[in-house]
């Protein structure tokens, strides 16, 4: 997870402040769009539109959700609108992930073990059902709450709870080899 979402924080009213918000959440929104459309150029356009919609709707943001969760919900709608216009279903693609050896481990054997575990995690993530993978990434990497994930994925909170547990079961099986 990158950082805790800034729940209850207001949205900046000025352009400079809003641009800083784009910097803070741009990767998450871009990544969410990219996983659905599989094209960096289109994902960037959709990320732009997400932030423009958020700018126009900033007065409606009441802080019930984190800013990131609110932006993710807008982004999913933007992708859905785009897909409807293009007459296509958003693809569930998977950006390959990478081996990252924990630099804090001094023992080379331990580092190799960590690298191996991450490699297995990467492979297992790719094999998860798309909605389970998305739940896992939204939770672990973007720090969204269950309610926010449910809103983004248009499903009940119970489905998020169940999906996350199943995703973690499979990932742990893979990681523990």
């Amino acid at each position: 997870m990158d950082e805790a979402p800034d729940r209850a924080a207001g949205l900046p009213e000025d352009e400079a402040g809003f641009t800083a918000l784009v910097r803070e959440h741009g990767d998450a929104i871009f990544g969410l769009a990219l996983r659905r459309v599989g094209d960096r150029g289109i994902a960037e356009d959709l990320a732009q539109e997400t932030f423009l919609r958020a700018w126009r709707a900033r007065a409606k943001y009441r802080g019930e959700a984190s800013v990131r969760g609110w932006l993710c919900t807008i982004a999913v709608n933007v992708v859905r609108d785009w897909a409807r216009r293009k007459g296509r279903r958003p693809a569930e693609s998977f950006e390959p992930v990478f081996v990252d050896v924990a630099s804090s481990a001094d023992d080379p054997a331990a580092r190799a073990e960590v690298a191996e575990a991450i490699g297995r995690l990467r492979t297992a993530l790719g094999l998860l059902p798309a909605n389970h993978r998305e739940m896992f990434l939204l939770r672990e990497r973007d720090g969204l709450s269950y309610a926010e994930i449910a809103s983004v994925l248009s499903c009940p909170i119970g489905t998020v709870m169940s999906g996350l547990a199943r995703a973690r079961e499979r990932l742990l099986e893979a990681v523990s080899g």
Partner: protein, 411 residues
């Protein structure tokens, strides 16, 4: 309570989402169930591993572009899907390649004209193309007309128009100018493009797929038809037969392409005009004034002496240029290698075939850029570190990587 319910609750507890009223029943189950207790105990470790997965990075211009549009109130515009190039996932060219760099500091230069010229017998190019996407009923959906000029080393001008919307891109080493509906932006201090040769002119390494016979003659040039399969999507490229050879390609000229879903063509790319090794005016690559400047901070600068692996011992991999990044990292441009294993100080990482992603090897950052067409690039931190670069993958793993890049629908 069954095991799945217990794991849902344990998972929610780890996320801080469990209702306190349910803690008792979870505790009760865990007290008598070793597997579920092990599951609950392993969740923090899984979070740590998940945190190590790098995320997708938005283009650095995104905040600038959004800001430029905040006050415009301009209607949102979404570009058409860009042509997804066939990845240069090599099949058989992969051999154990090892280059050892003893990490003294390198001499750094932008890709030289000589290096660019060494990659191709074509030093200038003009091509006009039409890119068409088709809707589900087979009717043309969007049509993009594109004109591209290239001049070694790495100067590219691309003019394109889709649905009346025009885009101009001028690229030079370290610089990229773009003018479109979002405004005019000049990116300076950029790392030189990894594709100093533009698609469709490219030193191809090898192709995952194979020839399926002769293609049509395009603008007087005979072509070979190359078929590629990715995640159920089929593409066929028409490649200049004179310069193309399967495995051991030194350069190729892609003159046409079709993308299929099943038997349905979803996109085509058609060459309308082609000239090369003709005079191309430098003025075409002059950057207009008045653009919003975004400085990325990289500059070519001498750093010392590069103890680079000679091209000779590295079968299929020849270094052609080195460049300094803004953080002192060195970037090597290599020709002819493929999927590469990066090793630093005995630690290894296998960068994915993604276009620009960063891998950490220990605390050292390495970026491998494998443009779908163009030059593989290995970027690594400099210092006293031993860096090995290899391409050890067997074809099945390449297939797996291709599957990850192009997953099937309905996964």
């Amino acid at each position: 309570m069954n095991h799945h319910e217990a794991r849902m609750l344990a998972s929610a507890l780890a996320d801080g989402e469990l209702e306190p009223a349910r803690l008792g029943e979870l505790d009760e189950h865990l007290a008598s169930c070793d597997p579920c207790r092990a599951f609950a105990g392993a969740l923090p470790q899984l979070s740590v591993l998940a945190a190590a997965l790098p995320r997708e990075h938005a283009p650095s211009e995104l905040p600038h572009r959004v800001r430029a549009r905040l006050s415009e109130g301009s209607p949102p515009t979404i570009r058409v899907p860009r042509w997804r190039m066939a990845p240069a996932l090599a099949a058989a060219l992969v051999v154990a390649l090892v280059a050892l760099l003893v990490g003294s500091v390198p001499i750094v230069r932008v890709p030289s004209a000589e290096a660019a010229r060494a990659l191709s017998r074509i030093s200038s190019l003009f091509i006009e193309r039409e890119l068409t996407t088709f809707d589900e009923s087979g009717r043309p959906d969007t049509v993009t007309r594109e004109r591209l000029w290239f001049k070694a080393p790495g100067m590219i001008r691309t003019e394109s128009e889709t649905d009346g919307r025009k885009t101009l891109v001028i690229e030079r080493p370290g610089l990229r100018y773009q003018e479109d509906h979002n405004g005019r932006f000049l990116n300076t201090g950029m790392l030189p493009s990894t594709t100093p040769l533009p698609e469709p002119l490219t030193p191809m390494l090898a192709i995952l797929g194979g020839t399926s016979g002769d293609g049509p003659v395009v603008l007087g040039r005979p072509t070979r038809r190359i078929e590629l399969m990715f995640g159920g999507e089929r593409r066929e490229a028409l490649v200049d037969a004179e310069t193309f050879a399967v495995l051991g390609v030194t350069e190729s000229l892609v003159l046409g392409k079709e993308t299929f879903e099943g038997d349905r063509v979803v996109a085509t790319k058609r060459t309308l005009a082609l000239e090369y090794n003709v005079d191309v005016a430098d003025s075409l690559f002059r950057v207009p004034e008045g653009a919003t400047v975004i400085d990325h901070g990289a500059e070519p600068r001498p750093l010392g002496t590069l103890t680079a692996p000679p091209a000779g011992p590295i079968e299929g991999l020849a270094l052609v240029a080195a460049v300094a990044g803004s953080e002192g990292e060195a970037i090597l441009y290599a020709k002819g290698a493929f999927q590469i294993l990066v090793e630093i100080d005995g630690l290894t990482a296998l960068p994915s075939p993604s276009r620009t992603q960063t891998t950490f090897v220990g605390s050292r950052r390495a970026t491998l850029v494998l443009p779908l067409f163009g030059l593989p690039e290995v970027r690594f931190s400099v210092g006293t570190h031993r860096v090995a670069v290899r391409a050890p993958l067997a074809p099945p793993l390449l297939q797996e990587l291709a599957r990850q890049m192009y997953p099937s629908d309905g996964e």
